[in-house]
Subunit: 514 residues, 2 copies
Amino acid sequence: VRYKEIECLINDDYSIVGRREGSEVYLPFSFVGKYFEVEGSIASYDGYERFEWHHSIARIHKPVPYKHNGPFMSFAHYSVENRDRVKYFSGTEGVPISTQWDSQGYFYPIQIAQFGLSHYSKNLTETAPHILVVDDGENRSKWTQEDSSSSTNIVYDSVRHTNVIEFKSPAGKPSYGHGVSVSINERSLPVLSFDLLMFRNSTITVVMQTEESGIVNLHYTSHIEECTHRGSNVFYGIGPTFKWRTITRDLITDLRKGMNYKEKQPKTKRKSRTTKILKIYLQGRGRIDNLTLSSSNHMNQFYDAADWLVRHQDNNGGWPIMVNRVVDSDMEELKANWYSAMAQGQAISTLVRAYEKTKESRYLSSAMKGIKLYQVPSTEGGVQARFMDKYQWYEEYPTNPSSFVLNGFIYSLIGLYDLKSSASQENGREAAHLFQEGIKSLKALLPMFDTGSGSIYDLRHITLGKAPNLARWDYHATHITQLQLIASIDPDPIFQRTLDRWIGYIKGKRAKHN
Amino acid sequence: VRYKEIECLINDDYSIVGRREGSEVYLPFSFVGKYFEVEGSIASYDGYERFEWHHSIARIHKPVPYKHNGPFMSFAHYSVENRDRVKYFSGTEGVPISTQWDSQGYFYPIQIAQFGLSHYSKNLTETAPHILVVDDGENRSKWTQEDSSSSTNIVYDSVRHTNVIEFKSPAGKPSYGHGVSVSINERSLPVLSFDLLMFRNSTITVVMQTEESGIVNLHYTSHIEECTHRGSNVFYGIGPTFKWRTITRDLITDLRKGMNYKEKQPKTKRKSRTTKILKIYLQGRGRIDNLTLSSSNHMNQFYDAADWLVRHQDNNGGWPIMVNRVVDSDMEELKANWYSAMAQGQAISTLVRAYEKTKESRYLSSAMKGIKLYQVPSTEGGVQARFMDKYQWYEEYPTNPSSFVLNGFIYSLIGLYDLKSSASQENGREAAHLFQEGIKSLKALLPMFDTGSGSIYDLRHITLGKAPNLARWDYHATHITQLQLIASIDPDPIFQRTLDRWIGYIKGKRAKHN
Ligand SMILES: [Ca+2]
Ligand SMILES: [Ca+2]
């Protein structure tokens, strides 16, 4: 059959050029893909070329039964470190500083909790890390004096009940040729960790060889919070540290965020990094212990997040969000220091896990305080909305009118579930009640988020009377992952049925029409 | 550029064969059209062939401002006569008998009201009919005696205060060669109408020449309700008619329904029908007046519908639907004699128009009784449901759980609007209140019917927790026509905005995703 060009008139609106072979008409994917928003590209397999059509880019993970002390959803696949909206990791807090909605940067409790939960989950799902103990004070010291007035000593620390390294050197700007140093020459262990006590201002400097920028010095100084960059020097203020404190730094992330350094992604997890850790310097005066380099240090990073949440919870039990936020031009602006049920929920999920691991009551009591705002109406500074005066909903954004964001609500429910599962019946009663009411609302309202070919991000179309705010595919995938979790803890068939349907949408299935 | 075959892998599921030219890939419409449910075909214009892609088959009429005594929506385009689900037109009632949901046939008030409303609307929008007065008793009679014992006389009728034709002939089966007859020989005036009074059983026979079946006799007999067919004879029982009554018959429809006769569609409205009306016979004994043939007789047909509604309204003010109906396998079956808010609404719209035309109070008072069931909960035999205990809704199907069918609800609102617009403030107060509450519900719930690429037929997905029951394109078009009407009587921008969006969906536009 000969093929030839044929005009294709689209909806009486405009024409494109197709191809015709007999009774079959062929349409260019450059039209079809754009018209229906589907993805497609030519892939090559040893010279065999094939066109691959993807209805959506969403990828679904196999569901696993959920436990309040297990991995958090699919967060083991998250890397908060790699997000563009992380300005850098705080030297004083060890947690990310977000630029989402405010380029200045601020501590965004949801991002911090997600950082904690992802490392908690990675710790459970990844193989054990490789660890190089640089010095734990228990062996002969490896430190080199860079100048004659600097020295190290092994001393017994009566607070920590262990031997530690005491260092001293003259004051001065962090630089080579001062203080004490230890050689490393290591490519595969990018996470630095140490316990530190300063007697006066001190600096820990890590010298790194980079492919893109040559030698770079990462300085962890006793300055207050900062992340600055001058020439080949990057400065993180870890703050005056006059009590023992554990500090964990992902050096590659610190390089990347500190000087916009982009390391070429290594082919495998632990091999062939192009960035090499050459040396570590100590300057100033203080004590250090358990100086290690490791392939990962998930639990330290998890506790950085959990401890931040304990320290920064306010009197309402909330983790206020410190930026103004316009969710929709037809809604009132959320004024800085609003609360988010998603932040509360994710913080609680983090704190419950910290409590499960440590049994330290401060984590549990912080989690319990975290549910107070669930009971306060969003019109009175809390996070609780009501759908048609009937179904209570915990708002990711406590907007006026209400927005009923689905994924944030489910995260808030997971927090409640985690708390009720971990706490005693007495301590968990309120969480259990809030959870039950929330699940009731979820069952009633879930179908409203279903378009028959995808899902809707929130219910602002109902409260504002406008177009549905369709969920892009990655949010649709989040909805699915969340429903997998909920289905594993609640047998109501609505969850499994919705799940099956929503997974089908990813491959272009649709609900029936009448 | 060379053109060659290329495998196209669809969603990692299956492969089809496309065509490739350089970096462009062409996909066969036999795949694309089915995958996305879009229509397309090759059209030819004087040899120029073009492929025409139609996102949907829905066609939208231009909106016109709505009036309670004006045309009803786009019903002037309806033809109840042509619907397959009309068994035939009742000889005793002049209205359609439906086979929808019951092949036996029954009087379905919605179909009857739509029959009335479509003729009312046609009467306002079509040009005036052509009318042939066969005999009105005012001129010398044209009747031929077929046998010596049959005769006609012009007499003055003291009930009708006009001259009429009195006919008499021996009793006997309807057939040629008896009674009196008049020759017609007419192709373009298919609607027969006459006023009739029987003194004893009588038959009016219309002899027609058909292309498909030769000579066919349509007999309107004094038998009770029936429509039977023997050879070239079709019998409609118009019932014993011992009081004056106006009878209007669409002869082509009577032929078609009576003997499954399919007349080839004439090219224009009044020309070249292949069916010819040859003769009319009268047998028995009675009086007849205003015997006419016309191109249409919309108002007579409209009054047949309105009068049926007045006669068949029950003590609850309802027009019960006499068949069992399963709306959804997860809902309780509706048992015969359920009420429908759509039936009530469309009946009221019909009755209000009859009242507007005639100012006869029986029409208005029937319409007013028709709203009583709007106030009775669907759980108690009425039609009122509540969405989340908050928004009242008049149910096309008063199911348990509720179904919240959109188009039926809007028809029920239009009925209320018509009544409140026609009645005095006093008489219209309750309708006005029910309308106001309904419009409030419509504004609140309308966004729930919006998928971002089409509309949903009802809210059963919410009440049953399952997939949305997507509206096929012709229901989507009905939603649009109804919203055009509502937007013309309520300035709330939600209606015009929704309308603009829903019209866009017809051409493949979609709501944004986030
Ligand atoms: Ca030690
Ligand atoms: Ca007369």
